[in-house]
Every structure is written in C-alpha cells, then in structure tokens.
Subunit: 575 residues, 2 copies
Amino acid sequence: MRKSIATVSVSGTLTEKLEAIAAAGFDGVEIFENDLLACPLSPEEVRARAADLGLTIDLYQPFRDFEAVPPDVLAGNLRRAEHKFLMMERLGADLLLVCSNVSPAAVADDELAAEQLRLLAERAAEHGIRVAYEALAWGRHVNEYLHAWRVVRLADHPSLGTCLDSFHILSRGSDPIGIEAIPGEKIFFLQLADAPQLAMDVLQWSRHYRCFPGQGTFDLAGLVASVRRTGYAGPLSLEVFNDVFRQASAKRTALDGMRSLIALEQSLTGVTHPAAPAGFAFAELADTGALGGVLAALGFARTGTHSTKPVELWEQGDARLLLNTTGADPALIALGMDSPDPAGAAKHAESLLSPVLPRERAYEEAELEAVAAPDGTEIFFCDDAWLTDFAPTGPVPGAVTAIDHVALTQPWHYFDEAALFYRNVLGLQPQESLDLPDPYGLLRSKAMSGPDSGVRMVVNIAQVGVGNLPWQHVALACDDVVAVARRLRREHPGLLMPIPGNYYDDLEARQEVDPELRHLGVLYDRDERGGEFLQLYTVTVGRVFFEIVQRTGGYDGYGARNAPIRLAVQHARGH
Amino acid sequence: MRKSIATVSVSGTLTEKLEAIAAAGFDGVEIFENDLLACPLSPEEVRARAADLGLTIDLYQPFRDFEAVPPDVLAGNLRRAEHKFLMMERLGADLLLVCSNVSPAAVADDELAAEQLRLLAERAAEHGIRVAYEALAWGRHVNEYLHAWRVVRLADHPSLGTCLDSFHILSRGSDPIGIEAIPGEKIFFLQLADAPQLAMDVLQWSRHYRCFPGQGTFDLAGLVASVRRTGYAGPLSLEVFNDVFRQASAKRTALDGMRSLIALEQSLTGVTHPAAPAGFAFAELADTGALGGVLAALGFARTGTHSTKPVELWEQGDARLLLNTTGADPALIALGMDSPDPAGAAKHAESLLSPVLPRERAYEEAELEAVAAPDGTEIFFCDDAWLTDFAPTGPVPGAVTAIDHVALTQPWHYFDEAALFYRNVLGLQPQESLDLPDPYGLLRSKAMSGPDSGVRMVVNIAQVGVGNLPWQHVALACDDVVAVARRLRREHPGLLMPIPGNYYDDLEARQEVDPELRHLGVLYDRDERGGEFLQLYTVTVGRVFFEIVQRTGGYDGYGARNAPIRLAVQHARGH
C-alpha cells in the first residue's frame, strides 16, 4: 500500500519536513495547515518542491468547524472554504480533511450536517477537490466514526467521503470492526497513530502523546485489516502529534515512521518473520583493562582471543562476554543474538531499515551479520560459528549460568524508536514500562523479552538533571546468589555495591527474610504469585556495572522496587 | 507559623535534601520513606544530621494500606507498623502519616477502619508516637477529608488525629470550609501543595504535577484560613511531587518553596503589599553597537547618557530604553518598574527572599533598589529620580507611545519559580498559559499583567531540540502600526521580519482584512469580543528583537495565534 505521513509528525520547517519524509521513502504527504502558513514558499513552490522530491500531496488538513451551523455562520464557512479550495488548486492537493465541528455554534442535527457537507462537496467538486469528513474523538456532536459515516451517507455526494483516524476510533474504545460497514470507495483517507494507554483528557492525549504504530498499545493491525476488507485503496498515512518527536531529528523520526508502517504491512500480508533469538550469544564490552579483573572475580575465565582483533572471550556457564580492548572507556557496545537463521534475521532487520554494519572480514573469520540499534549498539545475529574465531579453550563451570538480561540507556529523544526496533527487528515483546525515581529525576524503563524469556532487555531513558550518567549493565543469572555473595564478600569485598541498612529495615518490616541478605548486600523482591528475585550489584566501572540475579517461582520482573535504592547509592558514590 | 517541607519535594540524596532545606530556612522536615531507605546513613545519623542543621523531623511518611482489612492482613500490618515505630524512635520522629487504604483487600467499613486505627494508635502510643490519618484522593473507600475525620472521631484515641493535604482536598473539588468542623487539636498535620488545572487521572496529576502555593490555581489561602480557625498549631508543610523539581537544584527549589510559604503567610496575616508597579520605567538592553541603529529607525532618539556608566538613554513617547554598551551581546538585562514606593517594593521583594543586588553608587546618582529575577534579569524599583542621572534632553514625540510588554525566556527548570516571583514580588496577575508550536518543539508561554495592564510580561520556556535559541523581546505600543509599517518598509525595508504570504491567504479566508497588511507584513488578531491586535516584528539582533503593537477594543492578549508563524520565520532565517 502507498505510504504517507502528515507533516506535523516530524520537526522542522516545511522544507526540512518534506526532505526528511522523502528521504525516508514515503510516497506522499498530508500537508498540515500550520506548516504551510508558516512557510515562506508559495503553494506553487511547495507543490514543485514535493514533486521534485517524488512526493504526492495526498491531503490538506485540517478544515475545522464547518458543518451543522446556523445560516449566517455557514456563509462565512463557505467563504473560508472557497479560499482554501483556491489555495489547494495552487498546491496541487485534491483532498481536504474536514474535522467534525467542535464549536458551541454546532447543532445536533445530522440532516443539517449532511445538507451543509453536501453543499461543501458540491463547491469542492467545482475545483476538482474531494472532501473527507472525520469524527474527532472530542467533536461536539459527531465523535464516533460510524456517526461520521452516517452523516456522509446521508449527504450522498460523490465528492464526499469519510476519513478514518485510528487514534480517534481506538482512544474512545470504539470497535473498529464496524469499519467493514463502510464501502471502501467511501473511505477517502486513513490516518494511523498509536498511543500508550494514558488516563487523561483525550484532547491532550491526542495532541501530545500519539506515537507510531507498534510504539503504543492500540491494535492497529486489526483496524487496518478491517479497512482493507472494505477494498480501501488509499494510502496508509501516519498522523502523529508527539511532544518528543517535535524536538527530535526530522530525518530520524520520518525513518522510524516508515519502519513502523513496513512492520505493520508485514504483519498484515503474512510476511513470515524469522524466529526470535533464543538467547544471548554474547555481550561485548569496550574495556581499557579494568573489566577483566571484575570478570575474573565474578568467576569468569578468559577462554580465547579473537584471531585478528583485540577482543577477548570470557566465559562462565553459558554466559559469554567479549572484552574489546581497543581503548574506549568501559561501555556495552554490542550484543550477539543466538539466532536460528542469522542471514534471515539480518535480512528481516534490513527490510525494517536497520542500518547494516559494514564488517571487516579476514580469512577464516565467521561471517557475522550485524545491524545498529537506535543507540548505536551493534546487534549481531549468530549461530555457533562465531566462536571458532576465538578458538576457546573449553567450558568454564561456575555459579553464573547465563546472561539474564542487559540494560541499555537510550538517548531520550529515541525511546520510542528503540522500543519499536527491539520489538520488530528482534521480535521481543514489550512488558512493563515504569517511571523509577532517581535522586535527580526519573528513569523511564521498558522491559522486553523474547520467547521463553531467552532474551531479556531493559531500555532506560534518564530524565534527570544534575549527575545524568547513562549506566548500562549486564545481569548474570545464577542459581545461588547467596553463595556468590558470600564468596565475593570474603574474597573481593570492594567489588560489591554497599546497600543501606535502612533498605533491610524496611524489607524486614514487610516480610520475613533471611537476615544474611543484609550482611551480604543482596536485594530481594517478591511478586504477587510468590515468585522471588535476588539481586547483587557490583560497583560501576566507567558506564558499566554487573548484576547477579536469581529467579525462582516464575518471577518475571527486574526488581523495579529496588532500582531507586541502587540509583541512589550509585549517585551517592559519584558513579 | 512553623514551616516544613517533605524531602520528596526537592532533588538529591537525603543529605543534600536536608542541607538545601535547612539553607532555605525551614524549621522542620517530613522524611519521605524512600529517601530514608536509599540513604547510607542510619536513622540515628539522619537524626543527628537534621539536628545539626536545626531541623526538627515533623513527620515520617507514608505508611500505606493499613486499615479496614481482614484479620490475617491486620496481623502483618501491625508487624510492619512495629518495625516502623522502632525505626522512628531511632530517627526521633514522633508523628506517622497513615494514608487511607488503596488496596483491593480493604473493606468499606468505617467501624472496622476506626477499630483498627485505634489499635494502631495504642501501639504507637507505647512508643510515644502519634498517628495522622489522611484521605488520599484515590483511596479505595476513604477519599474525602471529612470521611477520614469521621473515622478518626469514631476511633477516639488521643494518639490518633487527621492529616490534611490541600492537594487531596482541592483536586477532588471538596469545599475546604468543612475543615472548620474539625477541632484544631485533632488536626495533627497540614500538607500544602498547589497544582495547575489538568484534565487527567488524579493519581498522575498528584505524582507529577504538584507545585508550590501560588504556582497553580488552588485557593490555598482560603484553605489555610479555615485550618487556622480550628486552632491548628502545627506547621505549614510543603509536600510536592513534581517531575521538574526532581531534576532541578535542591537549594533553589527549597528556597522557592520557602518563598511560596512566606507569600502565603503574608496573604493570611494581612501584610500590606506595596502597590504594584504602574508601568515600565525602562527596559535595559546589553548592546555591542547594533541596537542604536534599530532604535533610531524605530523613531527613538538618544536623549541622554548616564553620568558615570556606559549606558545610553533612548526615548520615544513614554517608552524609555537603556542601551548598556559594556560589550555583552544584545540581550534584555534589566527592567525598571515605575513604583509608587521603591523602598517599600524592594523591602517587600527582600521579604520574599529575592536577592537584592549590590549596586555601585556614585555621587549624585539616584539610589535605585534592585533585585534579581530568577533568570538573572535585574528588576529596579524606580520613581522619577533615576532619570536625572541621564540629564535627558527632553521628550521625543513619535508613533511609539510606551512599552506594551516584555517577553523573557526562562531556563526550563525555573518556569514555576519565575511565575511565582513575578506574581508575588511584582504583584502581577498570571493570565493565559499556552503551549505554542515551534518548528523544533513547543514554547510554553505564560502572560502576566499588573493593574490597568500598566505592566505586561510574558515568560516563555522553550522545550525545543535543535536550534533552541532563547529569544527575548520588547513590544512597543503605538496608535497606528500601519503608518509605522509604511514608513519602515519605505525607509528601512531590511529591518522588518518578512511574513509568509500563506499567512495572509489564511487570514483573508477567515475574515475581511485590509489588503495592505499583507504588503506591510503586519500580523493581525481579533478576540471574541471584537478587540483587535496588530503586530509588526523587526528582525532579531543577537537574542533580541522588537515588536510594534496596536491594541483596540480592549484586546488583552498577545497574538498567540501568530506566534508560531513568527517562530517559524525566525528559525528559517537562522536567528
């Protein structure tokens, strides 16, 4: 299907918006009126610019507060419409979005609304223009999409159809299956936006918190499937009002919008996704020499060195960490995914516009397919072949059994982009999204996991002022955190993060716990079904720290209750 | 009255919070539980630290989900309470806040709630501790302050009283006059928070958008007056959950909280405020030489030079601008306020903790009283004496009659602080608060004005990404913008900001306007009562530009509809 986007969805001047939209590969645009009004180019010049960029102008929007009004108001509204029709002819736009009236002057009279919209459509037709009538979720009388369709059918004019907007439909909880009652040729346009579930006034929700399909919680695939059943042949068009996107790079936002539409289309057309990764093949850390000692203390052993690159392999159980000693400060720089079909996974990532990373290859090196995540982390799709480059010495038994999860910190403009990337490219399912108190702000945190929780990731953004340090960490699974803690307290007492006694006073007030947890600095959480979680943190080294975790009873979280304690200690220690 | 603040209201570690709170002059604190849990100091150490700082610990909070529960839950809750009582003894806190139960386990049974709270109070009394029961606005069964009081009276224990929280009372629209039904000695504590009117879930509103008294729209003076009538003798205590305050400087936030309480107290105790300024005595701009030419083109003449400082006086009508040629880039650096009682105004500002500016004085110079606004702008309180330092040559007639308003851009962490400053220190009344679309974000804008609109100010914060430039401007009033525009287009065509033709296409679609506006680049707005506003902008010079405005028919706004056009042009021109 053709793909469009409203200019309001990305930042910048109208010219910058059009360039970013074209660069992302969209076929067309909706011109948002305010973007045109503020633009120094004439409508003819905008038309030429769009054409040069290969973009059609699919919609001009919005035209407000037109229908169901007293005669004197109607006269002014028609005058206003005539001006807009003339401008649209100059712009080369032949479809006008009319939003349902929100004015107190509007009358609750479908016959009157239909009569006046028919009049508008007649005038539009004289200019070769069609009118798409849309129910705003906060329209004064018409605020349900089926009500807008009722009015359009009553008006019965070939130049009048309806425009469907997923936000207006799904934010009200309306069932989109009713769309199938509308003949496809009377659906003149389809606007798509997703949104997180927020308990707020729908107008504010719509104006500030819309996001791209797959970034929120609406079932857009279901809605679009209903639209396709009608025979609708117009574009899928993104119309997203989002305070963060307004401030972000237009090129990057447009590209992410395109990625969201491609993923949506894939889900509709039955494109088979490659299987999600079964686990982490490795996590790669930049290192200047400090991390090897930490890993050794944690029970890892260096089992190999890359045949051509300054990269060491450290292993314990099924946990494999690479230390890249090229000199960068400690940071999590790459993740290897155990992939049943690395080439297919990389091709899928590429189909979703993920930047494929060039990779220097040497004789005998494994061919690793890698793409860049939004924050620049390199994601490798691996089978077992990659290990041969390291010629590992053999298994290292130990308390640590595997990588439990990794936590990455995202640039705050791109939190939604990261969530979409990990969901669509890696096939992870988003779980809890939380605001965690930090001494200097809030940490927004979203957990995601793959099938059987083989891959767990947490992406964080820090909305903090003073002392904003983007920590990243690797959490290692083990079956007996207490034993690990005992050994580390004895052998490497400086390695573990000190946990305040007050934390344990509170924990012991809430429930009976092993008093040794306090002595060892092990944190504890319990879920509603009795699942338990034990956590042990190392101090930070550069941007990085390690966590040792133990899950029992099906505990599926990440100890969110304890995160503020950890953050406060890290800040207080100046890390 | 004694003044306290909850530690959750400011940023940082508990130690940093206590230091900032003491530095701001508070008498006591509420210790917010999470702040203690994350603190490496023991309760005894926190107690000593607070004592060293001269702070009493007035409340420990919150204790949740205690009352109206089945017997097995009660046993666990009492166990939890005993742990907290022991900790409070170590902390030296003798008042515990108990919030009304929000758990699904709670039963709608006032008798049961009262019985269990009486039991809790008995246990507390054994530790010398009292319990203050508060109705959360989202409490499961008890969510009205009078309901909490009903339960407390039913329980009838000397160690049990109620805690009133202005947010929980006023966010629900409850009438605070009912507070007068409660005996003062049964009000154990009073928490104060203001909030802007927001259409959202009350829990989110409370957790993220509370602000200090005077920064929102609640009638806190009325509520506190009712509390005082009961004979309540405890502290006024601020408890503010605010996402911005969380990220701001603790010292600055605490000081602003104190300012808000002083202003609240002044309004209650009948402190006579000095009269608000009648108008602008002057606006002072830093200049490197570029602004004189702009002012001359606008019809200003240089009428004097300061006797000892490198400052020029430029006049036209009653508009007086000072150019400070000390070499800083163009920026608005000071405002002179026509004050009927400069000394009294300065003393009032000082009572509200405004930093009084040291001022080098020379023989014969007028004694100007000045304080610093939150963004560093110097605010002078003046009578006519200041002019003598410039020995002005005499009046300069011209089209410009006065300063209409000034617009300042605030650091975004301190928008609420600025609003409070201009409201309390200058006596301006806040008016519209708007989110204006900017090509790269949103501009949050709040207008304020004094009696008879003699002083009008707009404070803006830019929530923008790329190209964030904090423009400031001086708007000059005149009686005939069109005549001014004609002359400037003829004589100084490069001085005026070009306005897109598309803006006029839209304006003319909406209403009949003089076609010359398009030719001249004059912007137009009309209010609902027919008042009209004409605006003409100069190009920017450094951070500064000028606006010429004409108000007719009682127009009282600032052309908000046109601001996005202006912002887009400024961004497009790279200014």
